[in-house]
Symmetry: C2
Subunit: 405 residues, 2 copies
């Protein structure tokens, strides 16, 4: 079935409203957003694996236990992380105030924050911002909300797809922020997804977990996992489709749409990676198993030596096989083939673990492109994975090496 890219972002699906305003956490840019579903929605979330979890994550994890939610409140400019008991109180108050304004249950509010770590939330400003946001939610407000969650992002990240499931049009909309955990004290990634699909809670959670594993968990900008990462999905059922359950064709179709949304957002984050001048897609094929393929692909995208080689347009396959070598994957180096590819075609650099006499000019030509694909064929199984990353440039050091507030 066809999946059509669409417009509208988080408010594209039936029954979703949003708003984004400036309340003064940041100097002048929008810094607080609210998303609201006209009816309570099935909800699921995935959260950072970092042992250090910001206060809003704790509140949201608690509120999502019943797998229902109706509203999201997010601020940028302050992560409300490493803020102790006060931070937890502030995060709870954000949920309470949002619930009061939108007349929904406090346990139906998702709270998220991104920004400086270890600084108390300026609650006076936040309170005003929440009231302002809740009173201005609209179908058109999705774009403002997407702007309000940005930190060092250089562009707004929205994706919308529509598909037909069981004769009904289903829309999935999403907004995200993230360009690597880059700015001093800034956290990484937030993703909010809305859909009007009718789907069972357990199926929705399964779909989100799987899609996250194949998208956000496969990108690496600097290898640092933040204290505030979160991806949340709301499904309000207003499309009126027959209920989507696990292990059905409807589920597979819905999953396909969700994965496309998450992969597109993940690629946007990498392309917006701090100081990134090149986008790198790494495909590992014929690994002993899928997990091995994932480990190898991520090890390559994370290697500073591969990243700097890509920046330097250097066909340095030795660094690539070396990164697979220390990835923890059990493989036979003497079987490995390595290729690079781009618009200009495909070029084999190494065969059976040894360099071949490839055309330096052809390599230069391919590496000059902005989007570079690396293909590693382990030739010892049918495990497969794709990871995305960016190069490591002077600007990465510049952005991260100078203190800013």
């Amino acid at each position: 079935m066809d999946i059509i890219f669409n417009k509208g972002g988080i408010t594209a699906p039936e029954g979703f409203l949003a708003s984004g305003v400036h309340c003064g956490i940041k100097k002048c840019k929008k810094d607080i957003a609210v998303v609201y579903s006209r009816v309570p929605a099935a909800a699921a979330g995935v959260f950072t694996t970092n042992k250090v979890k910001a206060a809003p994550l704790k509140v949201t994890m608690e509120n999502l236990k019943n797998r229902k939610a109706q509203a999201i409140v997010v601020n940028s400019g302050n992560a409300n992380a490493c803020t102790g008991e006060d931070g937890l109180k502030d995060a709870k108050e954000m949920a309470e105030l949002t619930a009061k304004q939108l007349k929904c249950g406090v346990e139906d509010v998702v709270v998220a924050s991104t920004g400086v770590i270890g600084v108390k939330m300026p609650m006076d400003k936040v309170r005003d911002g929440i009231v302002k946001c809740c009173s201005t939610v609209s179908k058109e407000g999705g774009s403002d909300a997407a702007c309000a969650i940005m930190t060092t992002d250089t562009f707004k990240k929205e994706v919308t797809v529509s598909m037909n499931i069981g004769g009904k049009k289903i829309t999935i909309g999403a907004m995200a922020k993230g360009s690597g955990m880059i700015h001093p004290n800034m956290a990484t990634m937030l993703c909010f997804i809305s859909t009007d699909a009718r789907i069972k809670e357990d199926a929705l959670e399964k779909a989100l977990r799987l899609a996250t594993a194949r998208s956000f968990n496969m990108i690496s900008v600097d290898g640092d996992t933040s204290t505030n990462d979160m991806a949340v999905i709301f499904a309000n059922g207003l499309a009126g489709n027959r209920l989507i359950e696990q292990e059905t064709e409807d589920f597979d179709e819905f999953y396909r749409g969700l994965e496309i949304v998450c992969v597109e957002l993940a690629k946007m984050m990498v392309k917006d990676g701090e100081g990134a001048t090149k986008f790198m897609e790494v495909e590992v094929k014929n690994a002993p198993d899928d997990l091995s393929a994932v480990m190898a692909a991520r090890s390559i995208t994370r290697s500073n030596l591969v990243k700097t080689a890509i920046f330097g347009e250097d066909a340095n396959w030795g660094r690539i096989i070396c990164a697979v070598g220390y990835s923890g994957v059990d493989f036979d180096p003497n079987l490995v083939d390595i290729y690079i590819s781009g618009k200009g075609g495909e070029l084999m650099l190494a065969q059976n673990g040894m360099g071949i006499d490839f055309s330096e000019d052809k390599a230069k030509e391919l590496l000059k492109e902005k989007d570079i694909k690396v293909i590693v064929d382990l030739k010892q199984g049918c495990g497969h994975a794709t990871a995305w990353g960016c190069d490591l440039s002077y600007d990465y050091v510049k952005i991260n090496g100078s203190y800013r507030t």
Copy 2:
């Protein structure tokens, strides 16, 4: 008992001779070295954990199985890695020729290489070099040998210590190369240690494994583990001390000396880290156990965000606690205290997982120093570890981002 720092490097202990010459693998710098013990020595080695192992490592691992050796042959400029069967033949020939020239058993020769990956060894030049080296080994040749194993190192790395064990003077000498796996296709670390101590093979191996774990395995320049890493120790017994066995005072004393040698060399490598402008020592104390402390300390020294913060002289404790958070260590973030210290004293940045109102001026003053110490107190056990690293500077990108042959 006193341990005295001494001079002489690899040839300082009784009965060791060495030589280093230029044979043409590199344009003009010395590129081949030989170390020789007048008598067969007890020997032990530790090797890279990378699944991709260079040919010389395979030969050396085989030759060290009997825990005896008498000679070392090392070349720089070509890693003889990812070179297939030919590479293995070349590494074996290096051992055979060295054995023939020095009249020792071929299985008593340690072979090592460092340099470009995936290029066939220029054996004509290597053969001449080996003959030249073997015919010129001398007590004074240690320094030439230390020069001949350098690749992108900016200074020669030698350490010598002497101590008194059971009434006899014992000397440990060493040479190493390594400044991060930095130059395109260049491999990381080689370390060769000689001692005139009489020590049982199993005790020698235990001492080397432990000392390596607490030194070379605790440094991180760019997190990449090379295909050629190797640390080898020879103990020829010419000091005439009573045989050192495990679990004796003599062993503890010998180990203390060996650990000092390895830690000194490890610090030299980090200080020579590509583009490094600052040296960082990270001490993690009161962790649940020693392994947790090691994981936390290494995660901090490896974090690009911590490294760039140190480069930027930014007291960014949020990035430090975040790196502990994703290190895999089980700890309570609400107990963590973080300090920085230097010649100018010590400053607490965070207490019980929260930022405190520290003096920005004092922090700036401490971070301006070249050697910076970070102390992380987890306050939940008695595990302890120290790791060493460097900052991430523009020059790292410059060195690694431009193609060179």
